[in-house]
Point group: D2
Chain length 311, copies 4
């Protein structure tokens, strides 16, 4: 395989304050497809064009935030090898047994230097996208129910010591750096944000340096077009979903975006566009002064809430 | 003719602080087509898909703002009749001689109750849109130079006593009310903004109640698609054009929009979409509480700058 | 009023071969809103964003085709005046009583030189677009059910002696010529097609010269965007709706289009775009040799079926 | 690296009948960026958003067609390993020396079972996309010159014995099957077309079974949006570029498309959309009866020219 190792973001488990309110929001407003509830009461969702059993898991809790993110790897041999590599690198790993998440095989879990729980897994049940495998229509009813993102695109996590994450992801996990944002000149222009890909997307995961570990900035959902981003914005308006930024274009990654908050205060993004980097690409750098355009290209301004509010 | 009387916005004369800076901005950034300079030094522009000689005139002055707006009427008989009607209504009118504006016939000018100078005219030279009248291509180079709006769509003016304007426009000038915004309940829900059409657009002109007379809120330029609105936003970013709001969708008029400022501080809009009202339509009302969504449908919030900054 | 006389296409009555099949097609595939059935068994529909009771009426018959088209005029005084004008012009008129069509006032009916029954009317019940008149959302469920056109845009009729229609529409009914297509040079370049507007659309009605009178080429439905035209095409594919041409762009009118056939063989169009002509516009001419691009701008070719199949 | 082995289509060398006519066509009409001419007189182009020196090479010849295609691999070690793997698989390979193509390192070349010359290479000069690596704008002048595709997306080749190609690509070169088209039932439903990816695109290369070896069906260029596909179609119309199919949507790969011919008769595609498969995806199958929708989803019909004309 030319695509080996870590393939893509596979799931994220979010903490939500009221499960029923959140279930309705993710199902009816964001428009995910509900695929199950487990014994612990966690509710499972997938985006309509994803073929695996789930990508978003909601767990009721007293505080919002993210429990863990999981990335799908090519196969079990890859899982075993990556586990060995991560251990050899010096991190402890844990095996979460198959079935802990519905329809999901064993997961290898470890804590990132930024404090986040990160998982790798090789097996999750294929349930299809509802269009079938023979002469499929290009879309169906689920692709117009709510905002109806096509897939979980990436997550952006805030935490301590992203330099250590960068080393781990690029040296052990097979990711490469696509873009980065620098801090102020007077601080020596440290990397304050890094966008990493294991594929040819502009990011499969991104990290921002932050004084507290383990924080969620946002989960990003893929939209097919800029017109569908506006439609998502309309649905936010119809449902009084609080918006952080957008609709607008990012300079960073070139994507089109809206950031908004779920009922628990977890930020999510409806994202489309971007470009196609490959591992041989020279990374793009955003300077501290230039990042206003990096965040919001037309407006060219920093949004305080974007930089400071996390769960 | 089924379209009679006042046809459309035909021109607006803007005051700009530095003519050369503004000329470059309207020509290269907004992407209008420069069509002439007169003896007074005023610079003339048209949008690429307009067929008359000009729609925007820049005049250098010490303060920004709008000198006058002019609307094209069907023919000279209409012009004479409307002049008589306006006088009969009790307003004084003045004839500005043909040639005062380049390639433009006599204009009938009068002052609106809101303090704005308003003009009607029947003649302006057809110069075409550059595509010819025989087997034309759907677009050409001018339609991709700068933001490249297709036409001057409408203007929004702030001034005193919009109720009197409404009466004049609907009873004398042949406009009809398409949408309106109400003030707070505790103030008795007065009409604080009115959107008036002489065509089947959502507005050919709009007024907002304001303590000072004769103010410009914005001149609006028509964009063909939401994708072209984003492209306009990208060009704003490339040129550090300060944006007030957008890209986003209006609830009011349903259009898609960005508001930004020219180098003199005159606000302009890149606008597309909307719907097709007709004179038999029942007007839409936005309540004071609902106008957050009227202004910015996804965000549902009032923008202080939009409500208070005028030239 | 600046918009006076004839305002817009208001309704068309189509003959369909199987009423139930057609009802399902217009409701579920095209996505119109069903608004009633009358004693004769005719079924009534409106497009979601139309505010009047209906725009499409289906009547079961042995042959497909169009019974009549009706255009809304400003008010009853206009209706009376236009009736007098048409009679003075030398055509007989008939009054169809109020209530013959559901929720519709008296209609003035006459036969066009091309053999089509044409109606004018001033009254039809406002039923709204389902979004309400106070703080409306920009769209709702009906705008995504089936192809979901926003309104009946125009019709194209084939018949004898379009020159006489042109005279009637421009001299009596207040329309103006926007574009025209010429026949071959060797035939002296007669006008073989004319596009007429009573508004500032590229056409409210169009005629093509044809040896048989009273034929329907197509009824055109307005789509908001090119992306929605593709979505309409997808729905045609999902439902095996036979397509004549498209998706593509017209050179003539500059609009984007798909032509397809309903289950009875009546052609319809899903149309968007175009430009904004006004009565003072100089008409555009398509030569016989240039009309390949007029019909299908990218392909630049004539489609035999388009030129010859009518109902 | 998670992306290893073969990364992406890197170049294709086309035979053209008149070099100057073709140079103008690829530069001004398709809108590629010309990057050089070598001693043999070959002309080099890249798409604006590609960062390597070239992706299309034109060679003047007496017959149209494709000389070879080259795919970029991760690095030199990968190149050496893949060379060994291909030899071990039983194919002869040849090393084309560095510098044979401008700014390109050594290429490993071998003949596919379908008769095409296929190359792998690890080194080509990075020249950037013209936007810079620090605070880049999202696009620039080259992205609106001509059709302006963003990159070479894939190629579709016709030849003998695609089953052997499938084996080679999936067992040796690290590709996986994304979609496939079957022949008629009476012929036992053989695979007559296969769509293969080395990434998470719907195809990096595709093959169709054909009685003659080494044929080119089309080279595909990536467009960012459906609106830009229409714009490409408009440019085809303006330049009388003969179109084979489109604009339309493919059922197969779900992409949006126009197929047209360059002045030598080489077919090319302007393509956007699609979805994101991964190596763990279950392939989609199009039956012989269903392939009308696979080729042209709205129309649901086979186009004879598409199936039979190759160079």
């Amino acid at each position: 395989m030319a695509m080996t190792g870590v393939l893509r973001p596979g799931h994220a488990q979010l903490r939500v304050l009221d499960l029923e309110v959140s279930r309705k929001f993710y199902r009816d407003v964001i428009g995910l497809v509900e695929t199950g509830t487990d014994k612990q009461g966690r509710v499972y969702f997938k985006c309509w064009d994803e073929r695996d059993h789930h990508s978003v898991v909601l767990r009721e809790a007293d505080t919002a935030g993210i429990d863990f993110v999981g990335y799908k790897v090519l196969d079990r041999a890859t899982l075993d090898q990556l586990e060995r590599d991560v251990r050899a690198y010096g991190l402890e790993t844990e095996r979460v047994p198959a079935g802990d998440l519905l329809e999901t095989g064993e997961r290898v879990r470890f804590q990132l230097p930024t404090g986040h729980l990160f998982e790798l897994y090789a097996d999750k049940k294929h349930v299809g996208n509802g269009l079938g495998q023979v002469n499929p229509a290009p879309w169906g009813p689920d692709s117009e129910r709510g905002m109806a993102p096509t897939r979980l695109d990436h997550c952006l996590l805030y935490g301590t010591n992203i330099a250590a994450n960068k080393k781990l992801f690029t040296e052990v996990l097979g990711f490469y750096l696509v873009e980065r944002i620098l801090g102020p000149k007077e601080a020596g222009e440290p990397e304050v944000a890094i966008f990493l890909a294991c594929s040819h997307k502009t990011h499969d995961i991104a990290f921002v340096e932050y004084p507290e570990p383990g924080k969620l900035h946002h989960l990003s959902f893929r939209m097919p077009t800029w017109e569908r981003v506006l439609r998502a914005g309309d649905i936010m308006g119809m449902n009084n979903v609080p918006i952080d930024i957008g609709p607008t274009r990012h300079g960073t990654t070139r994507g089109e975006t809206i950031y908004a908050w779920d009922p628990s205060g977890n930020r999510f993004e409806t994202f489309c566009g971007g470009y196609d980097p490959y591992p041989d690409v020279e990374p793009i750098t955003w300077t501290h002064d230039g990042f206003g355009h990096g965040l919001d290209y037309p407006n060219g301004k920093l949004h305080e809430s974007f930089l400071t509010i996390v769960t």
